[in-house]
């Protein structure tokens, strides 16, 4: 009981400072909380016609971050992260590990990273407060500085700074995707499952050595804040088609650009799925440039048109 009172006392002091904290400071606190706190969140991911319930557990074992993500519906689909290694355990394939600082696919990695990296493409604006998952939440809008990308809204728990809700919003303010926490539990000690995960032997990280370096592709135009992450040559999974690959990102929005031999039937010029993922194609001679990513199709189209060989 005394401990709880002490905790409340300790929390009430930062609460005063919280009143005039700028939006960026909120995001920085969230980033830190995602990396350092021990917690379990149950959340649902809403996409056009999909609702996926998930559980995410995060903690620290021997000073290393350990996290566990489980899809609760359908065939088992889990991911475990120990330090900088993420292992995907899925029903239809052998488990494999990749080198990664976050479990990709649920909470955007950028939210746990240095938020100032996002400042070139987005502005942070403090919004109102509302109650989410039974907790008081503070809204921080991540507003795009141009119409080349989508906007985001994140609600943070006012006690722990952990995210309670994350929305992706199209240029005309339609909700594209939502992560909604239904329960947030702050843990006092590392849960057994994370200790187990830490001890477990996971498959070795897939070899990154046998890749072919790609051609020196350049872009005559990229939206502000977008940077080329990776260029390589590989074969598409599934179709085994050889492609030149360039990954570009502004931190939150990731775009893949492929250059390949054009197929028999031309691909549609622009294509938008209901969860915001778009695809744009530009045909150049007997090659086609395909750009894929969660940004407006017009942006992809412009990027595909602006690629050139140096």
């Amino acid at each position: 009981m005394r401990l709880i009172l002490l905790a409340i006392l300790a929390m009430s002091f930062p609460a005063i400072a919280r009143e005039d904290m700028p939006a960026k400071a909120w995001l920085e606190n969230m980033s830190q909380a995602l990396r350092e706190q021990e917690f379990k969140i149950s959340l649902i991911q809403l996409q056009a016609d999909h609702i996926r319930p998930l559980v995410y557990i995060h903690g620290k074992v021997n000073d290393e971050e350990v996290a566990f993500l489980e899809h609760l519906n359908g065939p088992p689909k889990n991911a475990v992260r120990v330090g900088n290694t993420v292992t995907f355990i899925e029903h239809d394939q052998p488990a494999y590990s990749v080198h990664s600082s976050r479990i990709q696919g649920v909470i955007p990695a950028a939210l746990a990273d240095d938020v100032s990296k996002l400042e070139q493409g987005y502005q942070f604006v403090l919004g109102g407060r509302s109650r989410i998952a039974g907790r008081p939440g503070q809204l921080v809008r991540i507003i795009p500085t141009d119409t080349n990308r989508y906007g985001y809204q994140v609600w943070l728990d006012m006690d722990t700074y952990l995210p309670l809700r994350f929305d992706m919003i199209s240029v005309d303010k339609q909700l594209l995707e939502q992560l909604l926490v239904v329960e947030l539990i702050v843990l006092d000690e590392v849960p057994a499952i994370l200790k187990e995960a830490y001890k477990q032997e996971w498959p070795a990280v897939m070899s990154q050595s046998d890749r072919d370096s790609g051609e020196d592709w350049q872009f005559s135009w990229l939206p502000a804040g977008f940077k080329v992450l990776i260029k390589d040559q590989h074969r598409l999974i599934g179709s085994k088609e050889a492609v030149e690959y360039i990954a570009i990102s502004d931190g939150l929005a990731n775009i893949s650009v492929y250059v390949a031999k054009a197929g028999e039937a031309p691909l549609p010029e622009e294509l938008v799925t209901r969860n915001g993922l778009s695809l744009a194609t530009e045909r150049v001679g007997n090659a086609e440039v395909v750009a894929v990513g969660k940004v407006p199709a017009e942006t992809l189209s412009r990027i595909a048109k602006s690629i050139m060989l140096q």
Binding site: L46, H99, S207, S209, D210, R211, L229, D232, A265, L279
Partner: protein, 205 residues
């Protein structure tokens, strides 16, 4: 109040008039408001305003309350009361007298009241719609763009291409999108400067 009069009051605020003029000002009830406003402006410019300042809405609110008939009219001001069934009318009319009675508090507590009215609206909607699947109501409304199975492009061009070509097109779109998703997993590492040969990797969802 004309311009000349305003200057006169302004001078009085700055203490540039004699006692006789001040007495005249005290007698002139019309100028009192000006007198107060000039002091307020002066305080604001010197940065001497208190942190919370009553903008003296009380008088106007009191007047508004007095003008209000003692009984509430059958059609309250809030628009939500139209075309709804009886239990909801009762609920909403509970809110309105509260609003009137505590006119002064209503300003400070306006946020809370908005929340209350909002909840009332929400309840009413669910009553009216009485959807059998409340869970589905929480789903975001998303425009009816093309489905994730990506048929749009193919369907549009159906006439000019054979089924094989359409299938091929769809297969290639899916291949690109799958590869994009897998790349997100691979590219996320810190300081990765190279990438794996993807045809050896397992298929990601």
């Amino acid at each position: 109040m004309d311009k000349l009069g305003q200057e006169w009051v302004s001078a009085a605020v700055d203490g540039e008039v004699d006692e006789h003029t001040l007495a005249e000002l005290a007698a002139d009830a019309d100028s009192h408001e000006q007198w107060r406003d000039y002091h307020l402006i002066g305080d604001a410019m010197r940065g001497e305003l208190p942190k919370t300042m009553s903008l003296d809405l009380s008088a106007s609110i009191m007047a508004a309350i007095e003008q209000e008939p003692a009984m509430l009219p059958p059609q309250p001001v809030v628009e939500v009361v139209e075309d709804i069934n009886e239990p909801v009318v009762k609920k909403t009319s509970n809110v309105i007298p509260l609003f009137k009675q505590f006119g002064q508090y209503a300003i400070a507590a306006s946020v809370a009241l908005v929340a209350v009215i909002g909840v009332q609206n929400y309840n009413q909607e669910t009553l009216v719609e009485s959807s059998p699947l409340p869970v589905l109501n929480t789903r975001p409304l998303i425009g009816s763009a093309s489905p994730v199975s990506l048929q749009t492009g193919a369907v549009q061009q159906n006439q000019s291409y054979t089924n094989d070509q359409v299938a091929d097109q769809r297969r290639r779109i899916n291949a690109y999108i799958q590869d994009h998703m897998l790349q997100q997993r691979l590219n996320n590492g810190v300081n990765i400067d190279d990438n794996s040969e993807v045809d050896t990797t397992p298929v990601a969802q």
